[in-house]
């Protein structure tokens, strides 16, 4: 059964939004620690400290939701369409990084992100 294309687009946008928020939470929490990780021990310690931050669990919850929606989408839509549309996550991450994390994205970086999105659409169609 083929579902409505707008429903598919909406659901994929929702999974990508969940993932974007998850990454924003993770990145901003790690930035707030401002640690210099130079050993496996420190990396493990960082992850241990992360598990004590409640926001991180909202992120984990969101990625769980995202996985469930994604699995649902895969039962309703063609794989190539789903993967093509899923590349909108790179655009969401880019805008979210500029707006919420105050990252500066140069023209070269925008061009690179556009190439990645275009490439994924090609891979998905191929």
């Amino acid at each position: 059964m083929k579902a409505n294309i707008f429903l598919i687009i909406g659901l994929i946008a929702l999974t990508d939004l969940c993932d974007t928020v998850n990454q924003l939470i993770l990145k901003s929490t790690i930035d707030s620690f401002d640690w210099h990780i130079d050993s496996v021990k420190k990396a493990l310690h960082l992850v241990w400290q992360l598990t004590k931050v409640w926001r991180i669990w909202i992120g984990f919850f969101l990625s769980g939701i995202s996985l469930l929606i994604w699995l649902f989408v895969l039962t309703k839509a063609d794989l190539n369409l789903a993967f093509s549309l899923d590349s909108m996550r790179y655009i969401m991450i880019a805008f979210a990084s500029v707006i919420f994390l105050k990252e500066k994205i140069s023209l070269a970086r925008w061009a690179g992100i556009a190439c990645v999105v275009g490439g994924i659409v090609l891979v998905a169609m191929g």
Partner: protein
């Protein structure tokens, strides 16, 4: 104060290793459900039958441990570079996964997919180069 750092060779190795681990994880998950032909998501007993088949599979557990390792590596990467660099560069798995599928699962790569893989590679190089540029100006 968060210092923006450029993408060093070491971080690039970390990013590629998360992609390789991602590939291993996907491969393991695919292998762990390889014998399952009867998944009926609307049926509780079908779901338990699915769990009974998948849970004893060593591939599942290797996959899950790999996911944990990916998270530790990803947290380390995010402590060192911009999110808007880490995420596009991590799309490298769109290059590694088709290659592994073609080698180990004998799936074919079409010409169109080949162009796409090349396009992603160009994108990854551009995004990586953009961090070096910023470092020079700073």
């Amino acid at each position: 104060m968060i210092v923006k750092r450029n993408l060093t060779f070491k971080i690039l190795i970390f990013l590629i290793s998360t992609d390789l681990m991602e590939t291993v994880a996907q491969f393991c998950f695919k292998k762990s459900v390889a014998g399952v032909h009867f998944l009926n998501a609307g049926n509780i007993s079908g779901f338990f039958l699915f769990l009974k088949t998948v849970l004893p599979s060593p591939f599942l557990w290797v996959g899950l441990i790999t996911v944990l390792a990916i998270f530790i590596t990803w947290a380390t990467i995010l402590s060192k570079i911009d999110l808007s660099v880490a995420v596009p560069v991590a799309s490298f798995s769109y290059v590694t996964i088709p290659l592994v599928c073609s080698i180990f699962l004998h799936e074919r790569i079409s010409a169109l997919r080949g162009y796409g893989i090349f396009c992603i590679l160009v994108g990854v190089v551009l995004v990586s180069a953009s961090t070096r540029h910023k470092e020079k100006r700073a």
